[in-house]
Amino acid sequence: MLKNRRILLLGLLVAMVVLPLFFPLYQVHVLVLSLINIMFALSVDLVLGRVGQPNFGQAAFLGIGAYASALFSLRLHWPVPLSFLGAIVVSMVAGFLIGKIALRMRFFYFCIVTISVAQVFMLTSTNAVGLTGGPMGLTNIPRPTGVSSLKAWWLLGFVLTAAMLLLVRRLDNSKVGRAWVSMRESEKLALAVGVNTVGYALLAYVIGAGFAGIAGSFYAHYVAFIDPSMFDFSWSSMAVVATVIGGKGTVWGPLIGGAMITIIPEFLRVASAWRLPIFGLLLIVIVVFMPNGLISLPRVWHNWRSGIKEQV
């Protein structure tokens, strides 16, 4: 039984990698964008789902990763893989410094501090014209050698996303993951049984910053153009929507949500103006009626079928 499931999963995985290679180019492009949203949603969920704090300013690290990577490549002429690694390091260092301050606070304060940080970066990137190109942004960001076709980007993105998913899964199933769960359930209790809550929260924040940096760097080199809107609140809020719709605090939730928010509107051909309000509404509906996200749908369905009332 278990073996069969493994084979099934493996087959599914191979199919997911290979099939898009035969898709029309535009569809592959949408899939690559969905990978970026998944990476970024994973990064948001590390704080929202693991630490349990409203992280509405994660775009700070998306932008930092994008700008760092682009600047390393354009100004210092580093090879792209090195810029990529450099961007991750810069994002994580920034995550460490900001996390140190922000994680001393809760809810309201945490929310405003993280949003503010993103806005300060946005203002800086807009005004520091000499370095960042100001509102015009940075163009002609080089692509890595060997990754020229869309299909190559798809494979690269897929490998990166899979690696990040596996890392989150490993962490969730380790001592760290158990500490996160205990903190999310009750911070006081976690403290009382000797969990170093500050340390574990910071760990989640720094890894999340690194993930956002990966997503930002990937985006910068893929699209080859970035501007201060990388730091925009709408990036952060869409990633929050993706995470919550999929199921926060899980491995697969951000995957489902990130894919949904990119792919569904494209294929349903919804007028772009309608997307955000629809997602806003969906966010409210999910939070009120299915707080554990779409990933809990099988369980909710099963419970409903067998007449068990969900204990909230």
Binding site: G52, Q53, P54, F107, F108, L276, P291
Partner: protein, 289 residues
């Protein structure tokens, strides 16, 4: 020197409206324990309703102000009854997610409705500045400032002198007792609080909409400004919100005049960092969180 006094006066006028938005946010948080991420969008909505009342229905500005507060207040009460009530006992993150959803919803519906074109609310005030001693003041600005101060005083009187105002304060201090001992209908108090809180944001929108452009993206600015004011002043503090609103208005205006207008919006964040470092409960706050 004259220049400085002029800028400081401009700052005070702007700041009094910041206080008004922020008081609404502070009230909602203090009484309902809800961080209203959509607060700025109610401010935006207030300005938009007023704009359409004047531009499409050709009604006078005074009617627009009243209509805007009434419409947004009613919407707030409906949202409280329909949505927020269902998550009353949930973690704070839950209500923040819901208000984030509301923010996306309101902002983008307004974007569709207006097509993103910035507007001006036509007000009956002449563009000729009044000369008051050393300073020149546009009548619209003076009206906005005076009216927001009067409204703040009215809210204060409502909270301290009237039956429902006292009921709101009692619920804030101990809602179990309010319910058990006095039989206060706390569901009504919650709806009233949310309606009044977002109504204050809407009023601020109608006042600023005659001075600055009205567009659907102004909500983000309204949100950050009011968050900054509430944190600097101290959560749930009436005096704090008024003082820090004025403080933010003045420092921002001075920074724009003497430093760089590009970094004007950073001033608020610097204030936040300073306050959180040296006085985490805010300038007038007694309790933390």
């Amino acid at each position: 020197m004259n220049q400085f006094v002029q800028q400081a006066a401009n700052g005070l006028l702007l700041g009094s409206i910041y206080s008004l938005i922020a008081l609404g946010l502070s009230m909602i948080f203090g009484m309902m324990n809800i961080v209203n991420v959509a607060h700025g969008d109610f401010y935006m909505l207030g300005a938009l309703v007023a704009y359409y009342t004047v531009a499409s229905f050709h009604l006078p500005y005074a009617v627009a102000v009243v209509a805007s507060v009434a419409v947004v207040g009613a919407l707030g009460a409906a949202i409280e009854r329909g949505i927020l009530r269902r998550v009353r006992e949930s973690a704070m993150v839950t209500t923040m997610l819901i208000t984030l959803g509301l923010s996306l919803l309101l902002q983008n519906f307004s974007l569709m409705a207006t097509g993103g074109v910035p507007h001006f609310i036509r007000s009956p005030f002449s563009p000729e500045p009044l000369v008051l001693g050393l300073v020149h003041v546009a009548p619209a600005r003076l009206f906005a400032a005076v009216f927001s101060i009067l409204f703040i005083i009215a809210v204060h009187l409502f909270l301290t002198r009237t039956k429902w105002g006292n009921a709101m304060r009692a619920c804030f201090q101990d809602k179990t007792a309010a319910s058990l001992a006095a039989g206060i209908d706390i569901e009504k108090v919650y709806a009233l609080t949310f309606a009044l809180g977002v109504g204050m944001a809407a009023l601020a929108g109608t006042l600023l909409g005659t001075i600055f452009f009205v567009d659907p993206m102004m909500g983000a600015k309204g949100m950050t400004k009011s968050f900054v004011v509430v944190i600097v002043g101290g959560m749930g503090s009436f005096v704090g919100a008024i003082f820090s609103g004025l403080l933010l208005g003045v420092t921002e205006t001075l920074a724009a005049a003497y430093l760089s207008s590009g970094y004007k919006d950073v001033v608020g964040f610097i204030l936040v960092v300073l306050v959180l470092t040296f006085r985490p409960a805010g300038l007038f706050g007694k309790r933390i969180r």
